[in-house]
């Protein structure tokens, strides 16, 4: 039951083309990182995946159903999208109410609601903050509250927009644990990020975009070992990987582990 973009593109009302025509398929439980410069079309592409934008050319199908005929909120309950800034989404007086909002809104029965809320709280590690006002929590914790509010739905796909921005190492560890758990539950994760370390350590599949189109889509080696792809999408290898390349130690080292292995 995949997300499929078939020749999907988006142009603004004034004619500017944000995304040309993209073919992309995100399968069950996959993990994909979308990288590229600002303005390459990453955000527009994921907004088409969750129905915030309907394609102006081509089509986007979620579980075989085109997004065009459905409202954003309907699609969003299957494809969750966590915005980069949690303050764009948080509004309740305490964390618990924030997470329970959607279940109550959808009028789920109590046991289902409690179940899903408990699961969302566990995945994001915010159990100790349930009665706190989100405004009184540090930004990093608010990020996790926003993620929990999305995870509470039964979405099979989650899109994370710059999840590591502003996170310290504790937050990063929590995020990684959460992603592992999501993988165990078969939830697909798509992320837009500039944090190459995060990409290389966590995502096996990378999609590189530039100028409104996909220029590479495959295993991370296909992106990080290909100089032309790196140039065109204006992204960089890890510092240590570049070191390995500069010293002609390896053309295929991508992670820190890879580099450690090739140094004499």
């Amino acid at each position: 039951m995949p997300i499929e973009l078939r020749g999907a593109g988006y142009a603004y009302p004034d004619g500017t083309v944000a995304v040309g025509a993209v073919d992309l398929r995100i399968g069950d439980g996959e993990r994909v990182a979308i990288v590229g410069q600002n303005g390459a079309g990453k955000t527009t592409t994921v907004k088409m995946m969750n129905g915030l934008l309907k394609p102006t050319v081509g089509e986007v199908l979620v579980d075989g159903v085109p997004t065009a005929g459905r409202t954003t909120a309907q699609v969003a309950r299957e494809v969750g999208y966590v915005f980069q800034n949690p303050d764009d989404q948080l509004f309740a007086a305490d964390v618990r109410s924030e997470i329970e909002y959607l279940p109550r809104y959808l009028r789920w029965d109590e046991s289902k609601r409690d179940d899903r809320v408990a699961r969302a709280v566990e995945l994001t590690g915010i159990g100790e903050h349930l009665d706190t006002n989100p405004k009184d929590l540090p930004t990093a914790v608010r990020k996790f509250v926003a993620i929990a509010a999305i995870l509470v739905s039964e979405c099979r796909y989650v899109i994370l927009d710059e999840p590591t921005a502003g996170l310290d190492s504790v937050g990063l560890a929590q995020l990684t644990r959460m992603l592992d758990r999501l993988r165990e539950d078969g939830i697909a994760v798509v992320t837009i990020t500039h944090d190459m370390r995060f990409v290389v350590d966590t995502f096996a599949r990378v999609v590189a975009m530039a100028n409104g189109g996909v220029i590479a889509d495959g295993p991370r080696e296909a992106v990080f070992c290909d100089d032309s792809v790196l140039d065109r999408s204006r992204i960089r290898r890890l510092e240590v990987a570049q070191l390995a390349k500069d010293l002609a130690l390896s053309d295929t080292a991508v992670t820190l582990d890879d580099v450690v292995a090739v140094i004499p």
Binding site: L172, E239, V240
Partner: protein, 287 residues
Amino acid sequence: MTLANLHDVRFTYAFSERPALDGLSLQWEEGRVHGVVGLNASGKSTLCALLRGIIPHFHSGELTGQVEILGRELSEWDPAELSTTIGCVFDNPFTQISGIRDTVFEEIAIGLENLGMPRDELIDRVVAVVRRLGIEHLVEKNPNGLSGGQRQKVAFASIIAMDAEVMVIDEPTSQLDPESSEEVFEIIHGLKDAGKSIVLVEHKIDLLAAYADTITVLREGAVAMSGPTRDVLGAPELPSFGVRPPEVVELAVRLSGDGRDLGVMPMTRAEATRAVGTRMEEAHRAH
């Protein structure tokens, strides 16, 4: 003269139960780039606010301990004078644009207008700053229509134009892409070359390693470690404070761990490349 001399500072925000700064002591020299790192909520932003005088004037709360800035007690500083002596740039590009000017040129001029600088001098100063930061292409644009990275550069230009001796910079790149982040760090480097004192709070540890002279690690409102960059970022206890070392440091530590010590603690890719290159030569000659 020392830039800042803090001794056993404690500060609790009004309406807050736990102190944001809890027994913090440090001493910083002028003319250096002082990096500040630490877990979220370790007191980094509070420290910046304190240095700027925003605490206790804008944000009220209980403040105890000795706070000396540029040789003067905080309580002796006139708040308006302090805010012009210590320029600040923070992480939100959106709120640092005044919103009441139609062009970037006019936006940069605001601080100088408020300082009462004569018009001719003012215009020359704006032109100089625009050239220095390479934002000529932005001068006629409306600040409200700029991207995050562009706004942040305009924010820097606006503060640099005021030529403060000290700059407190709080996570300036958190909302920027890697290219814009590097451009911001280059601006900071330029400031240091001009002899300014800089306090820089950042998560991007690799960039910090390349540009900071000292690193101060905060933890739960107090200083856990402070010293020259190489000493702090190369210290084995660093990760225990929740700070991720730069990639090249992690590489050196891993290599050292299994008997392939590099002999130096590299802070930048260039240093690491040299060190590994040397090892490779030695290994080669040994065969």
